[in-house]
């Protein structure tokens, strides 16, 4: 994906009239391999190699974007020409320039297929799982600052498998997302083994208000929904608006959004506007502390490096990355005792939030009832629901000490734009959430 950055920057110059205007070119190459697995045998297989470039201009509250499939100077020129034509500026000279091949035929996919065959056969022999491996290379040329390039390799396994419970086989959902690393296979093995553990037959919990212990890093999903999304700079009016620096939760609670954690699925070296990201404290000792910004919504310190695109055809938006909840001091046993009577959740399947009202909903596939500080019945699927401010104020002032990565959290969709995210968290107790059976 090579091109003359200085030349491209010159093409962008006519698009900028004053301070605060933004003009940039974004180029992406994505290679994706997907294999559908069924009962430890690979099924349908697909490989996709795509490239796309877009040119973007932002002036005041007005934004234009032009996208063209392809790569290299020819595609960039076409995108910039389209943008300049709509802005009625002089277009860059048209001259043919063949696109360079920018894909590397070398691949780790064959090695992964062999490993997966073994792992799946051993830990979940009856399954319908989809494995995907993506290599995403991005190149940003922003007018007025240095160009940047970065590459990420992302690994996902999603689907369902049949597991033995104590009475009858049951179908369980499974999802695992991680950046490709040496330890990924071991982590997947452990995650599958834990998910396939034998369980009691679930019973209904009933509807009502319940105290919930978020175990297994599921608190990262909760805070991703109620804090990270609400503090994205373009979120509009939310219950957290106009509460800057206010204490809204217990002083034991620290939450930050950290894109620099490259061991997590949502990490990156540069955001999609070329800005080097920094970790942002969302909640500092229970006080609201910061917002996630891109260049268009930057404060005096500039963008926080959270300008993210779903792909080259989309404009960047301020989006969260990795939600990190700081450790406390309590052991798991202390947390269970502290919960007393309530619901223990170790998995969350999905979460949604309506930012304007602050109402959120988390779907869990199973849980455990806790009575007098001890595990009781296995609980079937249900929903947890609540609102942002009451939930934050109902966090118990005791936080678990063991922090775990939430590998089931991987892709986040907002308004149809999907970006990789993740998080890590210790155990957290929230009092009086609404629970409902599914």
């Amino acid at each position: 994906m090579e091109f003359d950055e200085a030349l491209v920057a010159r093409w962008l110059e006519p698009l900028v009239a004053g301070r605060g205007d933004i003009a940039e070119v974004f180029a992406e190459t994505r290679r994706k391999t997907i294999v559908e697995w069924r009962d430890a045998e690979p099924g349908d297989a697909q490989v996709s190699i795509e490239a796309g470039v877009s040119a973007r201009q932002r002036r005041g509250g007005r934004e234009r974007i032009a996208f063209v499939s392809g790569s290299g100077e020819a595609a960039i020129r076409e995108a910039v020409r389209a943008l300049q034509a709509s802005a009625k500026k002089t277009a860059p000279p048209s001259r043919p320039a063949p696109a360079r091949a920018d894909f590397d035929p070398g691949s780790s996919t064959e090695r992964w297929v062999r490993r997966l065959e073994t792992i799946l056969a051993r830990h979940a022999p009856r399954h319908r799982l989809r494995w995907s491996h993506e290599e995403i290379s991005r190149h940003v040329v922003p007018l007025g600052s240095a160009a940047s390039a970065s590459t990420r390799r992302l690994f996902s396994v999603e689907g369902s498998f049949t597991a033995a419970s104590r009475r009858v086989d049951e179908t369980r959902s499974f999802s695992f997302h991680a950046p490709e690393a040496d330890a990924t296979a071991d982590e997947l093995r452990q995650a599958l083994a834990a998910a396939a553990a034998a369980r009691e037959r679930p019973v209904s919990f009933g509807d009502g208000a319940v105290d919930v212990l978020f175990s297994g890093a599921t608190a990262a999903v909760l805070f991703h929904e109620i804090l990270s999304h609400a503090l994205e700079a373009d979120a509009g009016e939310t219950p957290l608006s106009r509460l800057a620096a206010a204490r809204i939760s217990v002083s034991d609670l620290d939450v930050r959004d950290d894109p620099t954690r490259l061991d997590l699925f949502g990490g990156y070296e540069r955001d999609d506007e070329g800005t080097r990201p920094r970790a942002i404290k969302l909640l500092d000792a229970g006080r609201l502390a910061g917002t996630l910004t891109d260049r268009a919504h930057a404060d005096a310190r500039g963008s926080s490096g959270h300008g993210r695109r779903a792909g080259p055809a989309d404009a960047p938006l301020p989006r969260s990355s990795n939600t990190i909840v700081a450790a406390g001091a309590a052991t798991s046993e202390e947390m269970i005792r502290r919960l007393g009577n309530g619901l223990w959740i170790e998995e969350i399947g999905s979460g949604t939030i309506e930012l304007s009202s602050g109402r959120f909903r988390l779907a869990f596939p199973r849980g455990r009832r806790v009575r007098r500080g001890r595990f009781a019945d296995e609980i079937g699927a249900g929903f947890l629901a609540g609102e942002i401010l009451p939930t934050l104020s109902a966090v118990e002032p005791v936080i678990g000490r063991d922090v775990r990565i939430c590998r089931s959290l991987g892709w986040c969709s907002r308004g149809g734009f999907v970006v990789p995210v993740q998080g890590e968290a210790p155990e957290v107790i929230v009092r009086r959430l609404s629970v409902r059976d599914r």
């Binding site: 996709s48 032009a66 691949s107 599914r438």
Partner: protein, 426 residues
Amino acid sequence: MIDADLERELDRRFPSAWELYRKTAESRELEVSAANRGEAWRREEGWAVRWWDGGLRFATGSDRQRLAAAIPLAGKLPGRAEPAPPFPTGGLNPEGGQIPLQPDDPAAAVAAPPDLFAPLAQLVSEKSRGEAVLASLTLRRGRAVEEIRNSAGGRVRMESSSQLDGIARALGRRGPRICERRSVFRWDGEPDLQGVAGRLADGATLPLASRGPTFSRGAWLLDPAIAASFLAALAPLFCADALPLWVKRAEIASRRVTIADDASRDAPFDGEGTPTRRVVLVEDGVLASRLHDLRSAARAGRFSTGHGVRPSYRNPPRPGPRRLFFETAGGVSPRELLAGVARGVFARALTAPVFVDLDADRYEIEFTGVALSGGRASEPLAGARVSGRISELLARITQVATDRQFFPMPYPVGAPTILVERVNFE
């Protein structure tokens, strides 16, 4: 354009077992809110090859070079043995053998969508008596050219142009309480601002009401948008290899229900080059047929019904609906439906996505609407929930109206106002 060299190469490597697809598309989008305005122009190209070499392989690229690089990589992956299905032959070939697709096609400019934010905002405000405001409106318009060729000599070229589709978002406010609602729409003809404004206004303000239904059982009127969401959620039933256990008999709904799929007004062929045709899926309550693509048809020992769907060039074709709808020929006017309700609820907007579990025969719909009494609207309802067996809901549909509307989900799904009797509200 697809060149003969590529076809020859595929014939040499995968004799009698390949299919080539190419799509070029151009679109324009306009997103307007009170403070911001965004414009986007996109020109996308995609190539895909599907072939059977032991098992099924699928490779895609954003241009011919990348497609060529993806093919050997996909060929190295293991696959499950499966014979190639019989491909459609012939096709639409307007210039006697030469497909007239120019390299830079589609060259014709797509007109920019109109800016309808101000008139829609005005209507939302009027219909909500000032309690709701339009937050944003995104409109999109596009044009696409698709080519399909296969090893059996099938050749198809299709042009399609979408009319306006989009999404609007409104905020309702009453005192400190706020509610947000989105409406997804598609206008095949003139923009229906009144309809979208009415849905947004009701969806954003009805949940602000003080209470839910005060009775637990009654009739249930479903707005076309809700009925369409429910029908879309049922769609996998019409494509499944094996039917769930609760579909023991062919009668799966009341005699008032006829459901069909007919995308012939959208495209003459499906994503595999099979001619589009009308398929009646449920006729007078009886499950009559199902939707097939080439692979599922081969597995079932049947012919494709022309429902090989490609949501994008990145995805291999799968069986799926293309324009799914309730038939309304025997319907009555929505006013007559309303007048016949002694006590019930008119579900006007969803407050959560429709949930269905086809295997377990369960559904759950959360909505907001108005209470009905003596054939008239009596009071707004903050929220209500109906859950139970899908089979019971389908059997209790006692009437459909004639006001069918289509909604993008993302393929067009058409439904009228529907009346369901003897429903328990939570």
